[in-house]
Symmetry: C2
Subunit: 245 residues, 2 copies
Amino acid sequence: MPRYKLTIEYDGSGFVGWQRQNNGPSVQAVVEHGLAHLYREDITVFAAGRTDAGVHATGQVIHFDAPGTLPADKVRDALNYHMKPQPVAVLAAELVDDEFHARFSAIGRSYLFRISNRKAPPTMDQRRVWWVAQKLDAEAMHAGAQFLIGHHDFTTFRATECQAKSPMKTLDRLDVVRVGEEIHIITAARSFLHHQVRNMVGTLKLVGMGSWKPEDVKRALEAKSRAAGGATCPPIGLYLTGVRY
Amino acid sequence: MPRYKLTIEYDGSGFVGWQRQNNGPSVQAVVEHGLAHLYREDITVFAAGRTDAGVHATGQVIHFDAPGTLPADKVRDALNYHMKPQPVAVLAAELVDDEFHARFSAIGRSYLFRISNRKAPPTMDQRRVWWVAQKLDAEAMHAGAQFLIGHHDFTTFRATECQAKSPMKTLDRLDVVRVGEEIHIITAARSFLHHQVRNMVGTLKLVGMGSWKPEDVKRALEAKSRAAGGATCPPIGLYLTGVRY
């Protein structure tokens, strides 16, 4: 059976998350529903990152085994057709060998978090940015962020319900830049703990507001306690932007 | 009575247009409803451009006369509060003298039209871009657009229901640029005929697809007949970006 790797994009606003669940529409269900229409049989898909409710993706990667061989571009276009009008789209499709696994073969994941940082509330991007009206100091946030780069115990930034065996992770990148009226937080690692990005962003916001000094991020990390970090920020500004293999 | 000038932004997706109408929610009604809450009396607002259903704004300008004097920033913040959760926001507010009229004092209007030009359908921006899957040649579109610059009879690009006395207009700018996977059409004039921007965009798309040569735009203009132009493109990619006084 040919295995396909798909790069997909979605607006997570209206979904309970990537994963199929009983309590509402999931991105996985949209994709599997589209594939069922395309191939006339049930197909299970596997994703690199199981994004939470409200989280978006511009570079999620998934794979599935198809019952027949179609050119990859044809799979992309046909699946896009069958997923209409859901806000989920296949950006690229390719045939891969059956060693490839979207989740287990991944060696890097990158995320963007968008904060709308202006007096006026968002309009176009109401469910696609986190709105913080108070002016944030992006440079101070960036300085604080650098204390988190490297191999650390990220217990402070880990959801209490996180199921990872170890809180040890290696953070490769955590950049904070101002882009017009937005603050963008760009991060990359082999993998992240549950809510790690949102807990880091919630903590950096304290630095941006001036409530914390950049060095306080180091102290929070070293405390190895969730209580020492800032509040988990909302999911709506988070985008899974890419997966490396 | 103090007169306020407001710069406002809105996502036009869910509205019947700027103007108050009986057939659905309008942006004007949202703003006037917010002002009624703020001042506890009915207030009429006047806009620089009466955008059509589905058309967005990042720089619409409106004015109104207030029954009392509040600092301009306070008006901005309070009105934003009262318009929640509608996708309409006040970006800036200022006190102006009572000679100022949002519509009649305007000496220039600028618009952006966004085309999503990629194989995959839009997700995040489903109702904020016009999707054209076939690759468009932005340079050819730009070359064709330049024939429209200047003072001309724009009958070819004028809606049949347009109520302007004359089809003569002076077009100051019509640039077409590729921005990643999007084509942006940026235009400016003292004023536009009804559907002029959408009719120009629909015509330039024919050039982008290669169905027309850039010079065919000149021929269409000179025909002075709506039938000689391309089809009116959808409103969803259109943004009123600014008004000059």
